[in-house]
Amino acid sequence: MSSLFAVEAAPEVSFTNEASWILENVWLIPALPALSFFLIIFFGKRLKFGGAEIGISAVGLAFLLAVFANGSWWDHRDNYDGPAYSALNGEIDTHHGDDHSEDALGATITVDGQIENVLLTAEEGEGGESHPAVAVLKKMDWFENGGESFSVGTLLDGPSVIMLFVVTTISLMVHVYSTDYVAGDRRYTHYFAFLSLFTASMLAYVLSSSILQMIVAWELVGLCSFALIGHWWEEKPNSDAALKAFMTNRVGDIGLLVGMVILFFSAGGTFDVVEINEKAMAGEISQTALTWTAISLTAAVMSKSGQFVLHTWLPDAMAGPTPVSALIHAATLVVAGVFLIARLYPVFFLGFSIEGSSINGLALIGSITVVFGGLLAFVQNDIKKVLAYSTVSQLGYMVLALGVGAWTAAIFHLFTHAFFKAGLFLGSGSVAHAVHSFDMKKDMGGMRTYMPTTFKTFLICSIALAGVFPTAGFWSKDEILVGTGGLGVGSDAANGSYHLMLVMGLIGAALTGAYMTRAIYLTFFGEFRGHGEPHESGPRILWPLRILAGFALFAGLLNLPPGFLAGSAKDPAGWQERLLHVTEPAAAYFPPIAHAVPSWTLAIVASIVGLLGPAIAYWYYFIKVDGLAKETGEKLTELPNGLVAKNKLAATGHAFLKNKYYLDHLYEDVIVAGVKGPIARAAAWSNKRILDNVIDTAGKTAVQAGRFIYDKIDQGLIEGLVNGSGALSTESGQGLRKLQTGKVQQYAALLFAGATILAGIFIVLI
């Protein structure tokens, strides 16, 4: 493509409700684990394997259906030729009568009665067909409000179908792994129940056809995260971590609720995802509304997907069992925020004016998170915390990618990251299982000799994470970097020129390799520093590791850039941009984003920069530290006279990182403690001392006034009330007795009489 901001033709159709059986009944996929949740809760304890068998069967079945759905979608994507609809224009069967922007953009589909399978000649190297990707939408009534009916349903399209695959695959791996890892746990059954509920909620989330449904599922995954982080709630740090996760997410949820409300009204009172997106694309939602929505929703994304400054809950969330960290806090739940952006992409794309820009809020947050999250990984001794900060950093890449308009790159990175990060977490769990600790410096070291398979898989996943050619991480990270369109490197046809994002992305790549090198040295090299005799884990732990490492190696082949491994004559594109083709919605509810053309220069530069970090770390740990250790015979984890020890500035920086930028202090010691302490106490105090005092004083005054009247005027009728009020302060017993002995009628008479008089005064006055 010659023009920098060239857009592809926007198809004018969005969805259909006719498709193959599985695509129409895709609700079965979340329904299975949901059913499993209830079965495990009610019957799990009585079963032989404590409910794990139900969970595994349900998720296994869901996995098979998800694979089936993926296959079916690939076919549907290219070959569907039934009726198709647009939320704005109903069934599309003719081309005329529309003077929307599609025409201005030069819609290329000629439709006669039906959508035809139009093959476009490859436009400027994009290749492939521009058959629209017609989403499959199935809905039913949920409730009625304000005279309108609102529906619940499934929206199946590229991003959701690939998420189905990711979630069920990782979930299945984690289920199998967990049967060994948490065997004999005090709450084995509950553990599996919540894994099921989480899987169901996450699957329901990615299939949501309305934003209201998304909110529901969004919170449910949060609930499961809460329950699983706090799985061992007997110990306070664990329940603290669970609370922190939930509360931080609640803070972001303010943005979610507000954003969705704005969207609801600005889209004319609808929760429907397709309709909202189409309206945004058609310019029916004002720019102001889109911007406010995008900003609000970004707050939600920041908390859920651990973006800088709301990321602090994520490392603490490692208090949960390790498989949970792999499934929830690395591969799936935390990408819910990323998926939110991807799902409502027109809102963000237009709201943040991503196209043709060089900076925006989303890209900025993402790029800051990439670097600042990565830096924190260097000072962690807990292997899971290294991985947690790495997750924060990688989520930053995804948000960055979405921020620069590289939608497919973000989804692609989400896809590959899920596998290698889950593999890393499960690998760290395997090590921790053997040494009964997560502390790399104290209890690990030299593990490669004890646990060869764990070591190999961990190494492969680390290489993938570092983005080294030709592993999965290389392809997805490269696509993000290219997508920034920064510095004129391979910026052809990107959505803008995001120079800063490219630089931050490159720095992040160097950091990633470096902290992983450090983690690998501390865990697997040097001398064993723990106690006892560690040994390799069993097959139920190793097989998931092997499979995930396999994905870490090969998943990148799914979306090779043009120029790599072209296919056969029958299918000229082959694996090139396969993921882009099947995932990116080519429909009226998706913005016509540009696709950056890959650049050899950038790939090489990125590889060099990406290897620079690990090289320095290698030099430090494998040569200097290891050498010194061998020389002195000590078990070293760092140089005793390193930079931090010698240089004051480095020491300050180190302390700054160790204290996690002091964000936790700010949140916990200042904000939370302030609200819980002085502010809450002030409210309680004012309640007691001011509001209550007013009432009590009024009561006492009434008593005194009554006494006065009784003494001076002696009017028997008022006696009851006086005594009644008197009881408020001192003579309570007496007042009670009076009421019980017939004064009630007097009170009633008094009340009615008084009320009538007052009403009279009232009427005269007004």
Binding site: A217, D253, V258, V261
Partner: protein
């Protein structure tokens, strides 16, 4: 005769008959009393079930099962009862809660025991509550509204905690004060509207036709605001509530939270707003303001509490704040949310009080610091507490969410004539309240249910898991919390037609305008503008 002609009357008076029958049995025959009370409440519930099936949901906006009898002719008061989609969910809630409370009490009457008196009071309460929700005449409504007062007063004063006398009298006098103002308003309305009817519909028409002066409307609404607002309770009239709840026996707290508080909010949507729509528009920003203060203030109050029951009581102030915010928007979404919120709060907070009562019975204390490890000592009860805490903090998928979120949503775009900028500030404040709600509920859960039991309660044989009566009483509530959370249509579809019919006529809410709504307004009216609009309103009511 069709049941639709006498069903509601039967439902109102059967509890009274049951109470009368119980009078004839000596105090010592406790078994008989329990059976009679339970049977009575179950018969009423059976009528409720018939009503549930007989109710024509396609005409949910109209009054059904109506009955009209001349009553006190000299003041034109009629015995006028009927039910529509707005009152049906609340009536059903009442009919459900009472038998459950009786079952819960079965072997666990609070000291000083005396089941006879306790159950008679419960049944009298039942009459008052049912009557309030079906009355269509202001005098009739007032009578039932007041009938509720005395049994609850005695329940707190006799079966309550240590400070019961103070709490019960405070409750009584405070509510009475509100009732007096309410009655004044009713009477003023009666005279100003022509003095020939007390029926709600009649008064609404009369006000619309005769044009009761705007000023008079505002004053009358103000009286009702105090009367209903105290019952809700709205900030700053809430201070009777924590005391009453803390001192009341478990059963009293449950009924108080589940049903009695709703009489106030119900009064707004059934009486105050339909009859005096113009005044409602004037007062709405103020109601919204108090609601928002209540949300934050109640939550902060919760955070400072050291007693579990008092914490739950304060949480009611916050939750009813959402209900009032929904009402203050004067939109269909807001009022639907309010009614859903009432039912949800009834189920959830009722459950919370049940659990608090059961904890108290086992631990003999509700001091949060001393509790802990409930999940270990009584795992099932601990999980139930976790479940309802989640429901109470408004987790989607459970009932609480549908009272909160739509209210927040409605505040974004209140009815015409209301200051938009101001209500958007309310929306954000209300959304902020959800964070605080999560805070106090989860900290409560953490301190009571998680962790390990303290020394004094380890291996205490008194601390047993949920027993049979508790299961019977709680299961329906737990199931409903989940079902309403997943299928909100069960309530929304019933209330919506009624709300539309009741409110769209008297408030010309331009629903079509929503479509072209521009968020730009949000910018134009910042907080200053919002505060300024409060000022405008205050001058308006000073006219």
């Amino acid at each position: 005769m069709e049941i639709s002609e006498w069903g509601l009357t039967a439902a109102i008076f059967i509890p009274l008959i049951g109470a009368l029958v119980m009078m004839f049995f000596p105090k010592s025959e406790e078994g008989t009393h329990k059976v009679i009370a339970l049977a009575t409440s179950l018969i009423v519930a059976a009528i409720g079930v018939v009503l549930l099936f007989d109710f024509d949901y396609d005409r949910a906006g109209e009054m059904q099962w109506t009955q009209s009898v001349e009553w006190i002719e000299i003041i034109d008061a009629q015995y006028l009862v009927g039910i529509d989609g707005m009152s049906l969910p609340l009536l059903m809630l009442t009919m459900l809660i009472t038998p459950l409370v009786i079952i819960y009490s079965w072997n666990h009457f609070p000291s000083p025991h005396n089941p006879k008196a306790f159950l008679i009071l419960t049944l009298v309460l039942h009459t008052g509550m049912i009557g309030s929700f079906v009355a269509r005449d202001l005098v009739l409504f007032f009578v039932f509204f007041e009938v509720v007062l005395l049994p609850m007063f005695f329940m707190i004063a006799v079966w309550g905690g240590e400070d019961r006398k103070y709490a019960s009298l405070k409750f009584f006098l405070y509510t009475l004060f509100g009732s007096a103002l309410m009655l004044v308003s009713f009477l003023a309305l009666y005279f100003l509207a022509g003095g020939d009817t007390f029926s709600i519909v009649g008064l609404a028409e009369a006000v619309a036709d005769n044009g009761v002066s705007r000023n008079a409307q505002i004053w009358i609404f103000g009286g009702m605001l105090l009367g209903f607002g105290i019952k809700v309770p709205m900030f700053p009239f809430h201070t009777w509530l924590p005391d009453a709840h803390t001192q009341a026996p478990t059963q009293g707290s449950v009924i108080l939270a589940a049903v009695l508080l709703k009489l106030g909010t119900y009064g707004f949507v059934r009486i105050a707003i339909p009859i005096l729509p113009e005044a409602a528009v004037v007062w709405a920003p103020w109601i919204g303001l108090l609601a928002c203060i209540g949300i934050i203030y109640g939550a902060l109050g919760c955070l400072a509490q050291t007693d579990m029951k008092r914490l739950i009581a304060f949480s009611s102030v916050a939750h009813m704040g959402y209900v009032m915010l929904g009402i203050a928007t004067l939109t269909d979404w807001g009022i639907n949310a309010a009614i859903f919120g009432m039912v949800a709060h009834g189920l959830i907070t009722g459950m919370l009080f049940f659990v608090a009562g059961s904890v108290k019975e086992r631990y003999h204390t509700l001091e949060i610091q001393r509790l802990g490890g409930l999940l270990i000592s009584a795992p099932r009860m601990g999980w139930i507490l976790g479940f309802i805490s989640m429901a109470s903090l408004g987790l989607p998928g459970l009932a609480g969410f549908w009272g909160e979120f739509p209210a927040i949503l409605a505040a974004y775009n209140p009815a015409n004539g209301l200051p938009i900028g101001l209500f958007r500030v309310y929306m954000v404040v209300a959304a902020l309240g959800t964070v605080l709600a999560a805070g106090y509920l989860l900290w409560l859960l953490q301190r009571t249910a998680m962790g390990t039991p303290s020394e004094e309660f380890i291996d205490n044989p008194e601390i047993t898991d949920t027993h049979r009566e508790e299961w019977i009483a709680w299961t329906p509530l737990l199931i409903l919390i989940l079902v309403f959370g997943l299928v909100p249509g069960l309530i929304f579809n019933t209330t919506d037609p009624a709300v539309e019919l009741q409110l769209s006529e008297c408030l010309s809410v331009e629903t079509e305008d929503k479509a072209n709504f521009d968020v730009g307004l949000c910018e134009a009216q910042g907080i200053e503008a919002a505060l300024a609009s409060l000022g405008t309103v205050s001058t308006a009511d000073g006219e």
